[in-house]
Amino acid sequence: MSAKRITVLALVVAVVAVLAALPLFVKKDSTINLACLVLLYVALASSWNILGGYAGQTNLGHAAFFGLGTLVARFTWLGGWPLWAALLAGACVPVIFALIIGAPAFRLKGAYFAIGTLALAQVLYVTVANKWPLITSLPARYLATYRLMPRYYLFLAVAVFTVGVAYFLVKSRLGLGLMAVREEEDAAESLGVSGLRHKLLAFGVSAFLAGLAGGAFAFYHVGYYPQFPFSPAWTFDTMMAVYIGGTGTVVGPIIGAVFYVLVKELLALKVVEAHLIIFGILFILVVLFLPGGLLEAWSKIRSALGSRAKSRKAALPAG
């Protein structure tokens, strides 16, 4: 193992350990709730990035897969299924939808995929609102035993699992094929890579992970309207987090999600009225001036500092 890999591994272990120990020294529920939200967005952003960043297919309906996960997991769980089975069902059903919409949409080139996913999310949003117009609240016997800790750890597990899947996928043969398809599909196909199969695989994995995050949300939330997780805001928040952090990298969506959720909360507290406008402007600035997101900004700063340090070193012997 190279020194760099050991450093990265140590960093990962340290971050996960700190997050796992968080509830030991943070007792305020509001802080734990905020941490849950951050972890949820880490999972959503990382799962979106598998398809959007690595396969280059812009999914404008990520909320549909997240929403399906909440819907299926909530109703099966409240219907008496064990939690793990409800979560699994919530992750699998979105995959079916992804394959059904992906197979035709990927065959057509151009904007069909983006439009198709957007349409799916809108149709589901309206359908769910009509079919389940009432709020879904936890029944009294669930409320009596409700504790925040297991919810927090579930979000943590889902986020770590999602990032882990993203990491191992993109470091594998399939990840190389996926990126080759994104870069130049004709050339990839000429080397034996099926564009359609790779995109479907990425879409399926992305939908599975979004559905899993939805299951965690269903387990977490005390009461919400069933259509709420299908709202387009989830898709756009997720995409903003990915673009702010940097697409097509494993770390980018994590940084983006942490930054996005924290800054948004901060603005919402400080400037209640204008926080959406301020955030919108911030987002436009990032996309316009840092197309690679915060990650690119960081590597630019680092190389600038590095070259200055180097030139100083080079100047020393002469001086």
Partner: protein, 244 residues
């Protein structure tokens, strides 16, 4: 049995007959030269063989099997590789990563990415790009990108390799090197179809030559036979070229 057998292949774009009723046979281990004026259908023929285009009529058999209309990635998996007239490198990949894609998805794929990288470096060395292994493809010159595409195609370990104007834009010295490289590839058990405008290169390399004009095959034979064919001279070569 012919290694590659094309029968009655036809392709039209709207009203334009890009390929009309073309037959072709190729023996294993040979180099087939494919020439013809601009727009005569050479690239279209390669696209039809590799599954990038579906023919309106006709068949393509490779090693005895009908591969007509097969998806292009499956044609590649049968052992037919190609390069593109207008290069299509993975621009944000390094040269090494470009070649690795061929090495993990081609015939006898590498067991893991580390092994793929090792084998890909050897292939980059064959096309004299070893020193560019860690340079992004977008920072390579056009000629380097062409060699990169060749390396990438070779990385799939093809049985049949189709080169579309690999030598265009090279100076005479570079052309000589490229011809040497193509002969080496042939000697490593790869059969080739070579599309070129440089007649000297085609004559020097090919075992047989096929001439296309307006989508039709107008001549076929050894390089010498084709060069002496009056029809070919009239359509394409012009007297000066063949008198030498």
């Amino acid at each position: 049995m012919a290694f590659l057998k094309v029968q009655g292949l036809t392709k039209s774009f709207g009203g334009l007959m890009a390929i009309r009723d073309v037959d072709l046979e190729l023996q294993q281990g040979q180099i087939l030269g494919l020439i013809g004026p601009n727009g005569s259908g050479k690239t279209t023929l390669l696209n039809l063989i590799t599954g990038f285009l579906k023919p309106n009529a006709g068949t393509v058999h490779f090693m005895g099997e009908n591969i007509t209309g097969l998806p292009r990635f499956k044609v590649s998996q049968r052992g037919i590789a190609r390069t593109f007239q207008l290069t299509k490198a993975f621009l944000d990949f390094t040269a090494l990563e470009n070649v690795m894609v061929g090495r993990v998805y081609g015939q006898q794929p590498a067991k893991n990415l580390a092994q793929a990288a090792e084998e890909s470096l050897e292939i980059l060395d064959r096309v004299d790009l070893l020193d560019k292994a860690h340079v992004k493809a977008r920072n390579l010159t056009l000629m380097q990108r062409k060699r990169l595409e060749l390396a990438r195609a070779l990385a799939t370990k093809p049985r049949l390799l189709l080169l579309d104007e690999f030598m265009s834009g090279l100076n005479p010295g570079e052309t000589e090197d490229a011809m040497q490289l193509i002969r080496q590839i042939r000697d490593s058990q790869v059969t080739l179809i070579v599309v070129e405008h440089i007649v000297k290169a085609i004559v020097g390399l090919s075992d047989r030559v096929v001439v296309l004009n307006m989508g039709e095959k107008i001549a076929e034979g050894t390089p010498v036979q084709v060069c002496e064919d009056p029809h070919v001279i009239e359509c394409y070569l012009g007297k000066a070229v063949c008198l030498k």
